[in-house]
Every structure is written in C-alpha cells, then in structure tokens.
C-alpha cells in the first residue's frame, strides 16, 4: 500500500460513507412519507439540513466536554468507516477486524454520552442511560452473530469473510437463522421503533439531542448518516456477500437499511425492559440455534 493509496482511503472512505449515508437518510424519510401517505422531502433535503445546521450563526456549548463529545462521536464513526472495507478500498481495513470494528462502534456512543452528560440536562442523561441499556440489549445478539459469522468463515477480518462468500455462497443462504438474528440486532442498533426508547420525544424530549444546537446537532446528523451506512454495509458484508464493486454492494446496503425502516413506522416503542427482553429472547435464540448448526 503506497502513500497515495493510503491518502485516498483516508479521505474517500468517510466521504463515500457520508454521501451514501445521506441517501439512506433520504430513503428513510421517503419510506416514512410513503407509509404516511405523504410526498416526503426533496432529494437534497439531508444535505440542506446538515449545511443549515453547520451554517448556524450562533450556537451554545455547555463546556469543553460538550464539544469533545461531538468530535468523538463523529470522529469515532469516521474511524469506523475506514475500518469497514468497501470494494477497492480495503488496505487499512485489513489492519482491523470485525471485533475491532464492533468496538469502534461503541466509541461514538461513549463520545455522545460524555457530551450529553456535560449538557447537564436530565432529559439527556435519561436518554443516554436508555441508549446504553439498549446497547446492552442489542449487542448480545449482535456479538453472537459476529461470532457465528467469524467462526463460519474462519476469519475475523471482513475482507476474509467477503472473499469466502464470493467463492462459496452468501452467508444468508448458509446461515439463514443467524441472518435473521442479525436483522433484529440491526433494528436495535439503528434505534428505530420499536426500539426507539432513547429518543422518545414524548417522554424525554429527544433525549440526547435535547441541548444540541447548530454544529452540535449537525454532528449528530452526520453521525446518523454514518450509522445507517455502517449498518447497511456491515450487514451486507457479513451475510450478503459484500460486493466486488459499488454497483453490487450499494443496492444490498440500501436494501438492508430499507427493511428495518419499513417496519419502524408501523410500531410504537417498547419500554426499556421490554427492549432487553425482546432482544435477548428471539434473536439470541435464533443465533444460538444457528450456532449449534455451525459449530
């Protein structure tokens, strides 16, 4: 890997993630609009929102940690995007692996938690407490899924997993139950209904976002684009064979994201303990059955 390639990866991987993520946000909002018998936002709406938020003239901060929290949240995801291999750009991603990646995905949560904590608003703190509890809930099935996939492909490297699938069969064909468990975990990870406890506007006034203005909010919007992208591409790499080019990868990623979104707008949110109960019951059971076949 030469320096040019390295530079290209460092710059373009997050950029691609951002652009694709914005399209996913748009798709999410369009799906919502369609289900609600509406037209929905124009094509560039996610971009307008983010530019508008960064272009705010004034914004408040509750202290340095509030700023650092947002930097950590966005920065953690930028790092995660670089570790997430996409066609043609997998030089740096080879240095990490799926365990490292899943730990990277916790850094933004921690960063956001710190930033929100400094805001000194109990609504935000409750939101974070719920978000961390939800993380506890969805990470158990997620980690089982990752374990199963890594065991099945005999590799913890996503590149290795994709290669295996390209040579043999897609993971979803060989491990359908695990793939379904993965979808459950994905729904929890994206924090959409019925697992939307930590935003809960009617209870805690959007929880973590309660004191976020201007570029802080913009940071969270950017984070959302990364989150959707990561979820889509990661799942596609684990179970849908990744892709040899963006033309084959991105449709899969969009499909993966579209599925939970279509479900989300048809359900209310569960209470926190029900989230844990649900996520520790069905997906874990499915994943364990699947593991019994794999091991």
């Amino acid at each position: 890997m030469n320096a040019l390639h390295l530079m290209a990866e460092l710059i373009f991987m997050p950029l691609i993630a951002f652009i694709v993520g914005m399209m996913m946000v748009l798709m999410m909002r369009k799906i919502a609009a369609r289900l609600q018998r509406r037209i929905g936002p124009p094509f560039f709406q996610p971009l307008y929102d983010i530019v508008k938020l960064y272009g705010k003239d004034t914004q408040i901060s509750h202290g340095l940690i509030h700023d650092i929290g947002i930097i950590m949240a966005v920065g953690g995801y930028i790092g995660a995007e670089i570790l997430l291999p996409v066609p043609g750009m997998e030089g740096i991603a080879a240095k990490g692996g799926v365990i490292t990646l899943s730990y990277f995905l916790m850094i933004p949560s921690l960063g956001m938690a710190l930033g929100v904590g400094q805001c000194a608003n109990p609504n935000g703190s409750i939101g974070i407490s719920r978000a961390l509890t939800a993380m506890l809930a969805y990470d158990i099935p997620f980690i089982l899924v990752v374990f199963g996939a890594a065991w099945h492909y005999q590799s913890t490297s996503l590149i290795g997993m994709i290669e295996y699938q390209q040579m043999h069969q897609w993971g979803i064909v060989e491990m359908p139950l695990l793939a379904i468990a993965g979808l459950f975990a994905l729904q929890g990870m994206l924090g959409k209904q019925p697992f939307e406890i930590y935003i809960a506007p009617a209870e805690i006034a959007t929880g973590p976002m309660v004191e976020m203005s201007g570029k802080y909010m913009g940071g969270l919007f950017v984070m959302q684009t990364f989150q959707l992208y990561t979820a889509g591409v990661l799942y596609a790499s684990l179970f849908l064979g990744g892709g040899t080019s963006f033309l084959t990868l991105l449709p899969k990623a969009f499909l993966v994201v579209a599925l939970p979104m279509s479900i989300a707008f048809m359900f209310p949110r569960y209470k926190t303990e029900d989230v844990i109960r649900i996520l520790w019951k069905w997906p874990v059971m499915l994943a364990l059955i699947s593991l019994a076949f794999i091991l």
Binding site: P42, G55, G63, E211
Partner: protein
Amino acid sequence: MKKELKIIQKERTNPLAHVFDDFISFCQSKSLFMLHYCTGCGAIELPPAMTSRFDMERLGIQPMVTPRQADILLITGYVSIKTLKRVILTYEQMQSPKYVIGICSCTVNGGMYWQSYATAKKLNEYMPVDVYIAGCMPRPEAVMEGLQRLKDNIRNDKKEHKGSAWKDYFNRYDYYLGNQQALFGDDWQTPTDIIAEAKLYDLETEETYGKHTKLLEKHQTPLLPQEMRIK
C-alpha cells in the same frame, strides 16, 4: 417597526465568500425546523399542515422538540402573560438565525382578546417577528403561504435583508427588554445572557444598551458560564 434595521455588513474581499454565503442561505431557506410549541389555538391548524394532506416536509420543514434545535418559533395565537415569559425564554434559547412567525390575529394586536387582562397584545414589542399570518385561525394553506414567504425572505436575505429580523433582537435589545420589563416588572431576568451573546457575535450596536439594560445589570444575579480551571 419604527426604525429601519441596521445591518452590520462586513467587507468580504473573497469572491467565493459570497457564493458560500449564498449557498448557506439557500440551504437555510430549504431546511427549516420548527419548534413544537403550541402556544394557542392556532396550533390546531399545524397538524393538518404537517401531516398527510398538506405535507410540510416536502418544503423542508419539520417539527423539532427543543428550542436549541429549532429555527422557527411559531406563535400560534394569543400569548397569555405567563406564556409570554416562556416564549421569551424559548426565543432566547433558540439559536440564530431564528425566525418568529405570528399566526392568528391575536399575535398582531390582541385579536378578539383585546380586552383580556391576561393576554399580551402585540408580539413584536417583545421579540422581532418575521412574518405575521393573520386570520382566526389561518387555514393550513395560509400557514404554508406564510412559511413560503419566510423562505423567500431568507433566500433573499443577503440582497434585501428581509430575513434578518433576529438580529434586531440583539441590535435593539434595550427596546425589547424595556417592553418586557414594563410587563413583567423591573426585576425581570432570564437565565440567558443576551448581552454577552451580542458581544460575542458582533451584533451589538449602541441601541443594544440603554436604561433598561442598565437596570438589568443593576439588579440581576449574574449567571456566568462555568469555565474549566486547572488551579
């Protein structure tokens, strides 16, 4: 308003700066978050405007929950004095550029509650109002029309300075504070520090200060942000 707005225009030498500014104001006009705060009966026409039939989201307008996140403060109808205090706090907590839309006749001059002891009459005495939408209550179409007008104003802000009413609050803070003090009493204080904000963002003029701000400085309990200190 009796006075023309004084807009502080800095010299921008970089030709791209204008392009950049135009792009931002274009995005600002395309993306408006409105605050979910139903101050009065006009709020009943917002759900139709937001939901399936009229679908505000296609104009880039969506509701937001806290004042920090929002751009538009919709004053939907009469404001009782108790509400007005909260509205002012909410307005001060919003982040600029911020826009106020007075919906319903009651915000213009008290409307049909002109003789009520409990409602404030003219909203623009207490905060700068960008657009008034008269009617009792205005139909969703009228609300949309008003928002469209606001969007045009923001879009043309750089040329005609229509969408900068929010600067007036900083520029002529003394005037607004005076009206607030007249209604709420002389020892009125919000936890937000408008004067410091005006200083920080270069929005102060000589009319920012006056006898009302002096009065405020005299009686207020200063609420300075806690800064990190190592020793």
